[in-house]
């Protein structure tokens, strides 16, 4: 198990496969805490409203139940939600965070209880100051409760199942009319270069228009320097379209491009 350079925890399985868990920082975790704190307040008020009905029978009993209910909700909220939602509270769900075992194993009930009960010391002197400092200092961004429970908090961005069709479906690629140049492009490109081009295409809608133009100009220029396609092929082709064609060449085998696996191409020349 290694600690990655950019707040990630890398775990190597006995099969020799490495996977990385992106660790959540103190600021995100504090925001999740604020959401949870709001939830506890709302829940406690709702319960006190319901319990207040006992006041018809006895005011003393209603008050006693309100005190007990607030205490149970404030202590039990984190334990119950993290256990039933496998490491998530409402705040953590909103911010896409999850509590995990520090070794990547299944989260145990004991771990959930310990990390929640030790909030008493992490919360000192106020607003999780001790916990926040511990988070900043610790290599795995653990607060004291996490250290005792052997847990970490990771970021879990929403993951979509991979689907290349959204990227390259129904588009004619003029580069494939020159199979020898396409083969040279495949041979001369590294997986990292191909990955950069693909990532740029997948994230193009999230970019600022100016940055998008500049980025695709740089990437297209890089691939143009590797293999020069004839001018009649590249003429009128935007940089983004050029990169799209490059990615298509790099990530589809020649069999697929000739109709083996790929979708039917339109005859529109681009």
């Amino acid at each position: 198990m290694n600690h990655g350079a950019t707040s990630t925890l890398e775990i190597t399985t006995p099969e020799g496969v490495v996977f990385a868990l992106p660790l959540a920082g103190p600021v995100t975790r504090f925001l999740a805490f604020l959401v949870d704190w709001g939830c506890v307040m709302v829940l406690a008020n709702l319960i006190s409203l319901v319990v207040g009905l006992f006041g018809i029978v006895s005011r003393d009993l209603a008050m006693a139940l309100t005190i007990a209910a607030y205490f149970i909700v404030s202590i039990g909220y984190g334990i119950v939600t993290e256990w039933y939602w496998r490491g998530q509270t409402i705040g953590k769900r909103v911010l896409n965070l999850r509590v995990m075992d520090a070794r990547g194993m299944r989260l145990q009930f004991n771990q959930v209880v310990i990390r929640n009960l030790l909030r008493f010391v992490d919360g000192l002197p106020a607003w999780y100051f001790v916990g926040g400092v511990a988070c900043l200092v610790n290599r795995q961004a653990q607060r004291l409760g996490d250290i005792a429970a052997n847990t970490i908090v990771v970021r879990q961005p929403k993951l979509q199942a991979p689907d290349l069709n959204q990227l390259m479906a129904d588009k004619y690629n003029s580069f494939n009319d020159h199979p020898h140049l396409a083969a040279r492009l495949r041979q001369g490109s590294t997986p990292q270069e191909a990955g950069v081009a693909l990532s740029a295409l997948l994230r193009r809608n999230d970019m600022d228009p100016q940055a998008r133009v500049e980025l695709f100009e740089t990437i297209a220029g890089h691939f143009k320097s590797k293999v020069a396609f004839p001018p009649e092929v590249t003429e009128g082709l935007s940089d983004e379209r050029y990169v799209r064609n490059v990615v298509d060449v790099l990530f589809r085998s020649p069999t697929a491009q000739s109709g083996g696996h790929g979708p039917p191409y339109k005859s529109t020349r681009q």
């Binding site: 009960l117 008493f120 010391v121 005792a148 991979p162 589809r252 697929a256 696996h261």
Partner: protein, 352 residues
């Protein structure tokens, strides 16, 4: 070499989805036990996803697929390589009569140390009041204890009406929650290598010692025992058990002669910590009820002998429970030895 991403996804996606489905099922019902065939299938799918991740990391820098596979492999890894027992369904009676006293005895040294720290505090507090009565305003925890004990006893015994009328449940609830918070704090401060826990036990001891000595010096020992014993014989041990838990945390942090890594030291005490904190909560709920409904009533409403006797019974039961509770296994072993030494003793007698 760059892999044909489309072909790769087309071929592998059904297996990823199948793995995801099994993992979702296991996550939704952690208690379920998969048949052997399904376990083999899960293992196969996990290994296939691991191999796919290795290929993606080596031959393609595509971020989304790598993240997706990493998340899948991480989930599979937790299921396949987990060697700790799955949590059993809650068995409250088994936990209370078995696990709890056994956990207490397993860490008796920590409890003894908590008692020692509390006791030293008590002696210190008592000695301070005895030697310097002027220190009373500093040492007494509550305002109503700063006055003259004899005056308070006279006032309590001559009280015409119930002070806690229509407030007993609220008072009880307040005591339970307050004391539980204090106990959790005592336990949590174990993360200061046990120093915070030790300090809190010592200061609580000082306060109790000071109060006790103040009443003893005023000749109000009977009142003191009648007032404190019904709830104190449970409440004080509860605080000491919380201290025991805190010192266990401190001990795990320090390590001492235990050369295991920190995470193993914490893992070893985790279950017992939770059990002890559960015990503290139960004890404090009981103490809160007794304090509100019994301890606050004095002679002539409730004779002191009755209150002290009740406290003695509670304390005896608590000691017996913590000393002998959960020894079912020991009883079974003793029975087996008896049968081994005197085989006839266990046989049914012949008729006639």
């Amino acid at each position: 070499m760059i892999i044909d991403l489309e072909q790769f996804i087309t071929e592998e996606k059904p297996h990823w989805q199948a793995l995801e489905k099994v993992l979702d099922r296991l996550a939704n019902d952690p208690q379920q036990i998969l048949p052997v065939a399904e376990v083999r299938r899960l293992h196969y799918l996990y290994q296939r996803a691991s191999a796919d991740l290795a290929r993606i990391r080596t031959f393609c820098a595509e971020e989304n697929i790598r993240r997706y596979l990493e998340s899948l492999v991480a989930r599979g890894f937790a299921e396949i390589h987990e060697t700790r027992a799955k949590p059993r369904r809650l068995r409250p009676l088994h936990w209370f009569f078995g696990s709890l006293p056994r956990a207490f005895r397993r860490h008796f040294k920590a409890f003894a140390l908590a008692c020692l720290l509390f006791g030293i505090g008590g002696v210190f507090g008592g000695a301070a009041i005895w030697l310097d009565p002027e220190a009373k305003p500093v040492l007494m925890p509550f305002a109503h204890l700063k006055g003259d004990p004899s005056e308070r006893v006279a006032m309590e015994e001559n009280a015409g009406k119930d002070r806690l009328e229509e407030q007993k449940s609220t008072f009880s609830s307040h005591l339970m929650t307050h004391n539980t918070k204090v106990s959790l704090f005592v336990m949590a401060l174990g993360m200061t290598w046990g120093l915070g826990t030790a300090l809190l036990l010592f200061t609580n001891g000082i306060m109790l010692g000071a109060v006790a000595m103040d009443y003893i010096l005023a000749g109000e020992t009977t009142f003191l025992l009648g007032w404190l014993m019904p709830h104190g014989v449970i409440e004080i041990p509860a605080i000491l058990v919380a201290g025991q838990a805190g010192l266990m945390i401190g001990g795990a942090l320090l390590g001492g002669r235990n050369a295991e890594p920190l995470r193993f030291r914490f893992r070893d005490i985790a279950a017992d910590l939770i059990t002890l904190i559960g015990a503290v909560a139960i004890m404090l709920v009981w103490a809160g009820i007794i304090e509100a409904f019994l301890s606050q009533y004095h002679a002539p409403v409730l004779p002191y002998s009755l209150k002290i006797g009740f406290g003695v019974v509670e304390l005896t039961l608590l000691i017996v429970f913590l000393t002998y509770g959960g020894r079912g296994q020991t009883v079974a072993t003793l029975t087996n030895w008896r049968l081994a030494l005197w085989p006839k003793a266990g046989r049914p007698r012949k008729a006639g």
